[in-house]
């Protein structure tokens, strides 16, 4: 089961050749992957099929084809597995009339978890000050934290989070990421979907990129970048004589395109290291002052854009 980067050896969640279509629209197509302990980021643009995939994993949607198991069982057939698995959905799945404490307590009652965990979960998401206020008056970020608390309180072995950081401020975001990391360190399976690449990069040990309902890439961030050896890098060069520099760059094998914008060159290259060696020499040759040489997209975002564009 380790032959594909989309699968893991100690899988707790297995997705096998799953497809889902709504009428004529194919939301997920023949997708296979697995998830194990640690944080796996499910990455993709809006409409890529991430939410549909997570809803199938949870059993809220029935796969049109293929199968899903959580901890070895089909959640649609054996709801007892929900004692060990929890979802934080993207939508506002909260009861506005309840207070945060009542909402979290409701989750414990429904899951058969001990009520003694309620305060612990509320504290974990830093919601103590607002715990006895109705959720109706909560901001988006506070609602997100209430949902996370309601999931944490059940003590899940598998935690599935659909865009959990939406609406949270940077401090809350860092705090939630710490919680997810702590769960991962405890050996829990944490699946986090996001379209914000910096978030995934910060928290995920492993990334599955979903584009148009298909798995576009899988592995850790470095492995994905390595696999995309032919990905064109974009570099911003600030130099005195842009026109002569552009002409020289286009004569080389490593540059595929150059765009001039004032005193800036936007260069697309297949070999960043070679370009880095060539540019200072060329600047000296044309007697131009080189003030900047910066990759424009060194983050996972460039990989993602490339994957989306390539499809």
């Amino acid at each position: 089961m380790t032959s594909s980067p989309a699968t893991v050896r100690d899988a707790t969640v297995e997705v096998t050749a799953v497809s889902k279509w709504f009428g004529q629209k194919v939301a997920v197509s023949d997708l296979s992957c697995s998830f194990g302990p640690g944080i796996t980021g499910l990455l993709g643009p809006n409409g890529a099929g991430k939410t549909t995939l997570l809803r199938m994993v949870c059993g809220l949607l029935r796969p049109s084809d293929g199968s899903v198991t959580i901890l070895g069982v089909d959640p649609r057939r054996q709801p007892s597995v929900y004692a060990k698995a929890a979802l934080v959905p993207e939508e506002d799945a909260v009861y506005p009339a309840l207070t945060a404490r009542q909402f979290v307590r409701y989750a414990t009652d429904l899951s058969g978890a001990p009520r003694s965990r309620v305060d612990e979960a509320i504290t974990a998401v830093d919601l103590q000050a607002a715990a006895d206020r109705p959720i109706a008056g909560f901001s988006k970020g506070m609602r997100q934290r209430a949902k996370v608390a309601a999931a944490l309180v059940t003590g899940p072995d598998v935690l599935i989070l659909d865009e959990p950081l939406n609406g949270t401020d940077p401090v809350q975001r860092a705090h939630l990421i710490d919680i997810f990391r702590r769960l991962a360190d405890e050996g829990k399976t944490v699946i986090v979907s996001s379209h914000v690449l910096a978030e995934v990069e910060r928290m995920a040990d492993r990334v599955l990129a979903v584009v148009d309902g298909r798995l576009a890439a899988a592995g850790d961030v470095g492995a994905i970048r390595h696999a995309m050896a032919d990905i064109p890098y974009r570099v911003r060069i600030e130099v005195g004589d842009t026109r002569r520099m552009a002409a020289l760059l286009l004569e080389t094998d490593v540059v595929s395109s150059v765009a001039v914008s004032g005193s800036t060159l936007h260069v697309e290259t297949s070999d960043l290291a070679d370009l880095g060696r060539l540019v200072p020499r060329m600047a000296k040759q044309v007697d131009a002052r080189l003030t900047a040489f910066e990759p424009e997209d060194e983050s996972l975002e460039s990989v993602f854009r490339y994957l989306v564009h390539r499809r």
């Binding site: 949607l61 649609r76 698995a85 959905p89």
Partner: protein
């Protein structure tokens, strides 16, 4: 059992909270108001007949189905619309247990409002005629019909977002018109299930009810058995739908 009780508690709060309970409560005052206004200066016998002519009909043909429709259709429909269905379903509980708990809450909420309405009207009748025999049976009849209506409308509320509109058409076209016009269809009229129980328990009501509703076959146990069967089927059908169909749309 803890999960079941928690669903009942939260669902009761949902059903009886907000402005709609005030509107339904005001609607529930209509039978009493009509009884009180229309039975002034009437003899005891005439007041009893007036009770079955107007307030009783308003209670069973308007207050009861409308309350059951609003509360029943919202029971699962609101969870689906508000996105809380996933919170409810992703629990280590059988779907039929979840649905039964939701049903119990909706039934208690609907019965509380409508039984209070019926009880007030029956007490008004008692005040005019000196006979309070209707008070107990009217609560039982409401409870029986309310169970059937709530279960059916709960299923409807899950199936369509236009449940209230469809339900109103059903109540005012089918129940209030067609089943009166075609005697053979009276057996499939939901409000009559409770009324037959009432007629069995209040013998004095049989003749006036027969005149208003056509031939009625009184029977408290039969009504209860019918209600249990219809309610159970509706609850199981909803549980089956939750298990087999997608719980959320695209």
């Amino acid at each position: 059992m803890r999960g079941f009780a928690a669903i009942v508690k939260v669902s009761l709060r949902q059903a009886l909270g907000g402005k709609r309970v005030i509107v339904l409560g005001l609607l529930g005052l209509v039978p009493t108001l009509v009884m009180w206004l229309s039975s002034r200066n009437l003899t005891a016998g005439a007041a009893a007949r007036r009770f079955y002519d107007a307030p009783f009909g308003i209670l069973f043909l308007m207050v009861l189905p409308v309350c059951a429709l609003v509360i029943g259709s919202g029971t699962m429909g609101d969870e689906r619309r508000d996105g809380t269905l996933s919170f409810l379903l992703l629990r280590p509980m059988r779907r039929w247990v979840i649905v039964t708990a939701k049903f119990v809450a909706a039934w208690v909420a609907s019965t509380t409002i409508v039984a209070a309405s019926g009880l007030l009207a029956a007490i008004t009748l008692g005040a005019r005629s000196g006979d309070y025999a209707a008070t107990g049976p009217i609560v039982l009849a409401v409870a029986i019909s309310s169970a059937v209506y709530v279960a059916v409308f709960m299923l409807l509320g899950y199936l369509t977002s236009r449940a209230v509109l469809i339900g109103l058409v059903y109540v005012f076209i089918w129940e209030s018109s067609i089943t009166f016009a075609a005697a053979g269809l009276a057996n499939v009229s939901l409000f009559r299930i409770g009324v037959t129980a009432y007629a069995a328990l209040v013998p004095a009501s049989r003749q006036p009810l027969n005149e208003v509703l056509g031939s009625l076959a009184p029977g408290a146990w039969g009504a209860m058995a019918k209600a249990v069967v219809i309610t159970t089927l509706a609850v199981l059908a909803l549980a089956s739908l939750l298990r087999r169909r997608d719980a959320l749309s695209e």
